[in-house]
Amino acid sequence: MAKITLDQLAHSYVPEPKDDADWALKTMSVDWSDGGAYALLGPSGCGKSTLLNIISGLLTPSQGKVLFDDRDVTTAPPEERNIAQVFQFPVVYDTMTVYDNLAFPLRNRGMPAGEVDSRVREIAGMIQLEDMLDRRAAGLTADGKQKISLGRGLVRPDVNVIMFDEPLTVIDPHLKWQLRSQLKALHQQIGATMIYVTHDQTEALTFADQVVVMHDGQMVQVGTPVELFERPQHTFVGHFIGSPGMNVLPCKVESGTALFEGHPVPTIHSLHAHPGGERLELGVRPEFVRFAEDGIPVRVTKVADAGRYRIVETSAGGGDESAARHTIRLLVPEDDTVPSGGAHLRFDPAHTQIYADGWMIE
């Protein structure tokens, strides 16, 4: 177990980084408590794998510190950090049996044979490989091999942190959820800190207690799945999480009221001070938009059936011909009628936020 602290961490793959774009990871500081299940969620290229490799020691950061239980491990190699990592595709030692695969990390550390045996059998039981111990590792299916990778991580008694780098990528879809729930159960059983990197929000939101959303090398928001859904701190979080994502519309703030296309929109904020920033937007999830008698005038453009509800696309704005039209999506339960042609929308004030340059204002 370990508490992980990242102190002013940043990383660039370029030797002389000049501007923002050269930094794969922009300066961040965060504390992760012992035994938690975390997810690093973000699209390809957002820096999550870089961050993972820095924590595991496969990469040394350009600046900043990594601390395990307040011990500086920034430059320590992986073997000294007591971490385990499961990779995107199964990494097994083909020429060895399953047993030898699991025993490998222990034997390398000089553990006596008796202890190795009991530990290997214990872990094999946990990941349901006890019947396959004598089989050659090369003969297992992809999910079996991933379990071996996982097992090699669990088998060391001193493992602080287990990291998963998109581990379900090569697994058959119908086995994915099975493995996912096994991972979740394992976490509750062992209590080690687990960090799970993925670009799949379902995986992240179902596995983790706390999700770290990353975008462009920055940690954009850290929170529980519920928090991320209900109170996205950044427009990116709003976009990325939820399907369909949050509606982001340009707005103005005048005399303490937010205005969209000239219509006042109540929000969660009390706008005493005028928010700074160049670009003001308001965000509201389709789940919190409703048709109403009055409100923002829109034209219904598309209705898609998603089973228990329908995703309705509407188009707003365009007072004069040259102004752009904005798309606003909302979810309508399957039994409700959807008006055609012109309609009005209301946003739930408790779930409407204002963003300045992408970040939610105070």
Binding site: E79, I83, Q85, M96, F104, P105, N108
Partner: protein, 288 residues
């Protein structure tokens, strides 16, 4: 992998290949088989000789000596070139501009006509005007490959290593390059030492390329003709007369059709047998 459908029109597609290869293989082979079981006293008159030539060849000291030399040569070659090639491939950089440069420079000896290879080493190893020969003699060794069988063998082996090791390097390097980084990372995390990484990750993953490399080097060194011919002509004496050189002497030099043909067939069968054994042994674990 592509799925296959049963379709006899496949024969249409392979017809040109079959025609060309059969022209080159079947007809000469028939000729060889023909000569191997017949005897002639000239004037195109042939008599049935049965397996007589085969017996003569197999029992002849000359053949056995040539075979022995060939086996020794091939054995030494494999024992040097394969480990050396793998070692160089392991030491080479994985990425960067030096990779291309290294590969191109290393491939150069492979593309030199074989007689030029022999000629280069012929001059290079001369004790008075060749760099190699001169240096060795300066170091105190009495080195002259035209006179001493040991020196001749030594020169031939160094020449072949110079000529062909790069093939092993290229193949081994290709095999190594296909190993994803994650394996090395996992090994670091597992605390594996350098030797364990080689034994459990690199060597198994290179199994296929190594099989091909060993097979190719075995076959080509067993069939070697031009380079030793140009360098030593089979001498001094016949200390470096390997199977091909001996065969050509008998066939084109003495025009002893019968023995030459019988020897050809025996030669070919030896290679086939060895190759088959090699191949089976090395791929027995493949399974799929």
């Amino acid at each position: 992998m592509a799925r296959k459908t049963t379709d006899q029109k496949g024969w249409l597609f392979v017809a040109p290949v079959v025609a060309l290869v059969m022209f080159n293989a079947a007809i000469p082979l028939m000729t060889v088989v023909n000569y191997s079981v017949q005897e002639t006293f000239g004037d195109n008159v042939f008599f049935w000789h049965g397996i007589g030539w085969f017996q003569d060849v197999l029992q002849s000291e000359r053949f056995q000596a040539a075979l022995g030399r060939q086996l020794l040569f091939t054995g030494i070659i494999l024992a040097i070139e394969v480990p050396l090639g793998v070692a160089i491939a392991l030491a080479m950089p994985r990425k960067g501009i030096w990779v291309s440069v290294c590969l191109v420079l290393m491939a150069l000896p492979l593309l030199i006509p074989w007689n030029v290879v022999g000629a280069i080493w012929n001059i290079y190893a001369l004790p008075d005007i060749g760099l190699f020969g001169r240096v060795i003699n300066e170091l105190g060794f009495d080195y002259n490959f035209t006179q001493s069988p040991f020196a001749a063998w030594f020169t031939l082996i160094v020449m072949d290593v110079w000529h062909w090791t790069s093939l092993v390097v290229l193949l081994a390097y290709a095999g190594l390059s296909s190993i994803p980084d994650a394996y090395y990372q996992a090994a670091r995390i597992d605390g594996a030492k350098r030797w364990a990484v080689f034994r459990y990750i690199q060597l198994p993953k290179m199994r296929r390329v190594l099989t091909i490399a060993i097979l190719l080097r075995f076959m080509d060194s067993f069939m070697i003709y031009t380079e030793p011919f140009v360098l030593t002509g089979g001498g001094p004496g016949n200390s470096t007369t390997f199977l091909s050189i001996d065969l050509v002497k008998i066939a084109l030099g003495q025009f002893d059709l019968g023995p030459a043909a019988a020897m050809s067939l025996i030669y070919f069968l030896i290679i086939l047998a060895f190759s088959w054994v090699f191949y089976t042994v090395m791929t027995r674990h493949e399974g799929n």
